[in-house]
Amino acid sequence: MTRSRFVAGLILGGLVLTSSGCSDTFNAGPLEYVSAVTLTQDVPGKTNLAGKQPLQDKVRAALAGLFGDSPQRIRVPEGSGLPGGGIYLASYKLEGDGANARRKRIYRPRADGTPDPSRPQAGGYAIYRRNCLHCHGVSGAGDGPTAPYLFPIPRDFRQGLFKFTSTPNGARPHRDDLRRTIKNGLHGTSMPAFHALLSADEIEQVIDYVIFLSMRGETELMLIEEAGTADENDPDALEEEVVKELADGVFNKWKTAQEQVMNPSIARTPATRESILRGRDLFLGRTKEKLECAGCHGMLAQGDGASFVSKEVFDSIVFGGNPSERAARLSALDEKTRTLWTQKLDVWGNPLRPANLNRGDYKGGRRPIDIYWRIAKGINGAQMPAHDSTINERQIWDLVNFVLALPYEPELLTEAGNEPQRAKLADTATAR
């Protein structure tokens, strides 16, 4: 009889497996935000709360009060400026206070505006969890399980800094910038293009969630900064007033950035030979402005400029062995190279390489306006400086024309002394 019991067990097991694994409403177990390193650890040169338990608790409590204590119990502070007051962030709304709060399901509206019980809203968090979390992590710290295998590693949203933006250097991104990144991906990195994978509505929801994580992360850093100035045993440290003010400061940065998109006041100069050559001279620092492009990007724009560590050193540190032993490889470098290495990290502390401009892959997009923004206002957090204060718009367009032409005419730099011969260019173009 044991045999028939075995068969029955097999069939039952199969049924359970097939009915549980495929459901879309399947919800992972409790998820927890990771906290900023400076909350509990001593980081030299940065304000931190290492060893100051009461202050740590206060920061945690303030953060949970503002944004909810876990991604499954999201709260949206008033004044966040998120669309619909944050209604698109999740599939539910928290009603009530503290531990008694209950989750109430959100349904998408019918044409007449009443909720339609047959169409539950997925919400930004669910879309993020399914598509982004494995890279960008639960808290948006860029520490998902896939992250250690990638170069460059995924963005940590928690400083509020984004690289490919249309707003002034250091400002928060415009919503359109995030939308472009998510729709088109970042070419040449592992950040995928989602426009074929997500609907327009889902993309809007996930943008909301990215902004939410970014605001939450930045608020956490501000709280730590603020608490760092307080006395450990001061019962009044981080009062409600102060917390609210800090959070509003963070929200306001996002609000002002939406009005600060940089729109070139003149259209692109036609990409004539003259314009391209003017751009080349600017790039090589041959004009009176003495631009440093080639110092970073290299004389041949292959991303090997003298002001960064050499490509060989870079590759041996980043790719030359087990990623967890990178520190050991670094300490084997001589003093000078090591100092240079530390100076040329990005603000997130990750290794960084100037772009090879011969490849024609642009992370932030290939439209002239994208390249214009990169040159005019720099790339946030990535060493590439803003140039709009040193050169005028016409000169920026000349540089754009040069950058866009270079992948098809490497002769522009290899024969930088002489006027490239048109006949030869035509030859190589057809051969390719």
Binding site: Y149, R175, E204, A267, R366, R367, Y408
Partner: protein, 274 residues
């Protein structure tokens, strides 16, 4: 234990029922436009499906035949005991049957040879380079971990020049027109798969492989990667849009080019928003 033969019979009946049901359900049948379950949209698709159906009929008939024999013999010749616990029937021993063996080797062999010869024409028209249509390539598609980078020639009509249109995971072509693309890979093996057109071609690093197809229906379909190419393999899903007319397609191209050539924001920023 006669029950086993009943279990076998049920399994066989369920399998046959699944096959009989499949043509009546769009979800179970081969990928075709929604609401047109039996309309294969490409010429190659129709040939491939014919081959598929021939094989399905042959294997189906063989399956039914062998299952009938299996169920019948396990029912008929089940080991029965008498009241003393001794088998009722003595086992018989044989050295097999040479004639039967030859027959059931030759028949499947002949079927295989038939299929091998019968499909040559289809294979040649889909894969032989000499069969490629003499048209200019519509696009160059480069697979990379983990996306399809699609490059259309710009106004100068040449690929790999500065005016090319470059899009990701978004492939467009025109209905009722032989379409030729060049397939490349910039890292590892991928496989360019258009399920609705029944087109599947590996993308091999270092090779430029021509792929051609057509469609008699406009609409929106999908691209998939059919070669496990790394952890993000599943992300290589793209959109295919088949335009009704060349004019529609050209309009799409010029809209995309306008966007790609954008040098100033025309509307106030934020107009793209919700």
């Amino acid at each position: 234990m006669r029950n086993w033969s009943i279990l076998f019979a049920l399994a066989a009946i369920a399998s046959v029922a699944a096959f009989l049901y499949a043509p009546f359900s769009a979800d179970w049948w081969l990928p075709n436009p929604p609401d047109q379950t039996h309309h294969v949209i490409s010429a190659f698709g129709r040939e491939i499906d014919n081959l598929f159906l021939i094989i399905l009929f042959i294997t189906g008939a063989v399956f039914i035949g062998t299952q009938v024999v299996l169920v019948y013999s396990s029912y008929k010749f089940v080991d029965e005991m008498d009241e003393h616990g001794k088998p009722k029937r003595a086992a018989t021993y044989s050295h097999g049957n040479n004639r039967l063996e030859v027959i059931w080797t030759i028949i499947p062999g002949a079927i295989l040879v038939f299929l091998a010869v019968y499909q040559v024409g289809t294979w040649a028209s889909i894969k032989f380079r000499s069969a490629a249509p003499r048209v200019a390539p519509l696009a160059e598609i480069t697979a990379r971990q983990f996306q399809w980078v699609i490059r259309y020639p710009g106004p100068d009509g040449r690929l790999n020049s500065p005016d090319d249109l470059v899009v990701v995971n978004d492939f467009h072509f025109v209905k009722n027109k032989q379409t030729l693309i060049y397939l490349k890979s910039s890292d590892v093996l991928h496989s360019f798969y258009l399920p609705h057109l029944r087109i599947k071609q590996d993308a091999v690093p270092g090779l430029t492989i021509p792929v051609w197809f057509d469609s008699d229906t406009a609409g929106s379909f999908e691209i998939a990667c059919a070669e496990l190419c790394g952890w993000g393999h599943y992300k290589m899903r793209g959109k295919v849009t088949i335009h009704e007319t060349e004019t529609d397609f050209q309009r799409w191209v010029s809209d995309q080019l306008t966007e790609q050539n954008k040098s100033q924001l025309t509307m106030t920023a934020g107009a793209e928003g919700r």
